[in-house]
């Protein structure tokens, strides 16, 4: 029964569920960033013609799922599962998207780790024989996140230098059993929640870096692998502060992260865009993965990639009550077969 489990918290997927199609979408600021050309669609109007930003966010999620399905030339009614979540209270973007799609839905909340969490669960369900295919998607929107977690947009407050900028973007990955496609999910590590008592909600990278290090360490030891077994190790949205901390923390554990380690939060914007410590949000890793990163795998540049999305599991209420920020990171290992 337990023959797919490795070590303490990792799993191998012998059937190697395939990444069949993907799609991404991003806003104006992301389009102007270094990865602008890699998104399937970008948009100028951050309301997407909707009455509110919340509605725009769920429209964006629905649209990336539709795009992924149409690339695979299948209809929503032939998809077994929709796994998704977002940052908003009660994961409404995913819920409302599921309402229009009509695909059986499992809502996930892993904060910004949702992209990795959904791919991990989707591929496990496929590998376990519970589904033939599954669509995994997540999104975030700068304006909805700001009003939920911070201040009104027009308030003239100053952002601290360690603060990150929530990415307006969405990404969807379609996983299937069909082995004709080249990119496979071959292993996964479920992250434990870790907290080094960071309380600054304007320094999420510092809160999440320890969780990312722990998941990476667990993955390597569970799977008996080294950093050099991967061409690319990607974290979700640690940003510049978290990226530096991650490297230091890993070095202390004897894991040397070299040039093959990147962070989506550092890649999605460039320094001239005044985003301080980089990008964040579920959409940050989602729109980087579902275009740019899969593209690099497809072109043969990257053969095996460890994708670790990181999430800070806090809420403004808990922060106001003086609680620290617990964090999690989930890892999926993707390889070209």
């Amino acid at each position: 029964m337990m023959d797919k489990k490795r070590g303490k918290q990792s799993y191998v997927l012998p059937d190697k569920p395939r990444v069949t199609a993907w799609a991404s979408m991003a806003g104006k600021k992301e389009a102007a960033g270094p990865l602008g050309a890699t998104f399937d669609e970008t948009f100028e109007d951050d309301t997407l013609g909707e009455k509110s930003w919340e509605r725009a966010e769920s429209k964006m999620l629905e649209h990336v799922v539709d795009m992924a399905l149409s690339k695979a030339k299948i209809f929503a009614d032939s998809v077994d599962l929709f796994l998704g979540g977002d940052l908003l209270n009660q994961i409404v973007s995913a819920g409302y998207t599921a309402r229009s799609l009509g695909i059986p839905f499992l809502g996930l909340y892993g904060a910004c780790s949702t992209m990795a969490e959904s791919i991990m669960l989707g591929s496990m369900l496929i590998d376990g024989g519970f589904a033939h295919n599954a669509v995994c998607a997540t999104c975030s929107h700068f304006s909805t996140a700001e009003r939920q977690y911070r201040f009104p947009l027009e308030l003239g407050s100053q952002r601290t230098p360690s603060a990150q900028w929530t990415v307006t973007g969405a990404g969807a990955t379609l996983l299937t059993k069909d082995t004709t496609h080249p990119i496979a999910v071959e292993a996964a590590t479920v992250g434990s929640v870790y907290d080094l008592k960071q309380t600054d909600a304007n320094n999420m990278g510092a809160a999440m870096a320890p969780a990312a290090m722990m998941t990476l360490k667990a993955h390597l030891s569970d799977m008996g692998r080294k950093v050099s077994d991967y061409d690319l190790i990607v974290t979700g949205d640690l940003g510049h502060v978290g990226y530096d901390l991650m490297k230091i923390l890993c070095e202390k554990e004897g894991i040397c992260l070299d040039k093959r380690y990147i962070d989506c939060g550092c890649e999605v914007f460039d320094e001239s865009q005044d985003v301080h410590a980089g990008g964040s949000g579920c959409g940050c890793s989602a729109c980087c993965l579902n275009g740019w990163l899969y593209g690099r795998m497809l072109s043969g540049e990257v053969k095996r990639m460890l994708f670790m999305a990181t999430g800070a599991l806090m809420s403004p209420t808990m922060s106001q009550q003086g609680e620290s920020i617990p964090s999690v990171a989930h890892a999926v290992s993707l390889e070209v077969v």
Partner: protein
Amino acid sequence: MRTLKQKKTPAQQEYDALVKQVSPKSEVPWSLVKAFVVGGLICCLGQAFNDLGEKVFMLDKKGVSAFTSMALIFLSALFTGLGVYDKLGQFAGAGSIVPITGFANSIVSPAMEFKREGFVLGVGAKMFVVAGPVLVYGITASVLYGVIYFIVQMIMGG
């Protein structure tokens, strides 16, 4: 933000030190200069309205201060609505928060933001979400000050 009372373990303290070392810091001297210049300019503008009220409109002392505040609040609300004030705030920090214009911005911005939730539960309920604490403690402090002043006057006078 409050911090937890419970003691941190040595590993957590060590991490705190590391975070402090790695995290970028605000450029305090440059921020001070920006805040001073912008805050000063807003006050100069206030002085200009003051002179205008006094010399052109021939208002009395009370009228002048009301006119000055109203003009500044109007401009702040206008520029908040035009989406300019938040950019000024990002640049100037306390320079545009401390003057009365910052207070107006803190009321107009949530009112704009929560319009979509309706006029009662949105605008009405959320309008003072930022300025509320200032009002509560500002008014409380002024009442306390009044009471103390009253007692002191009574003692000194009696």
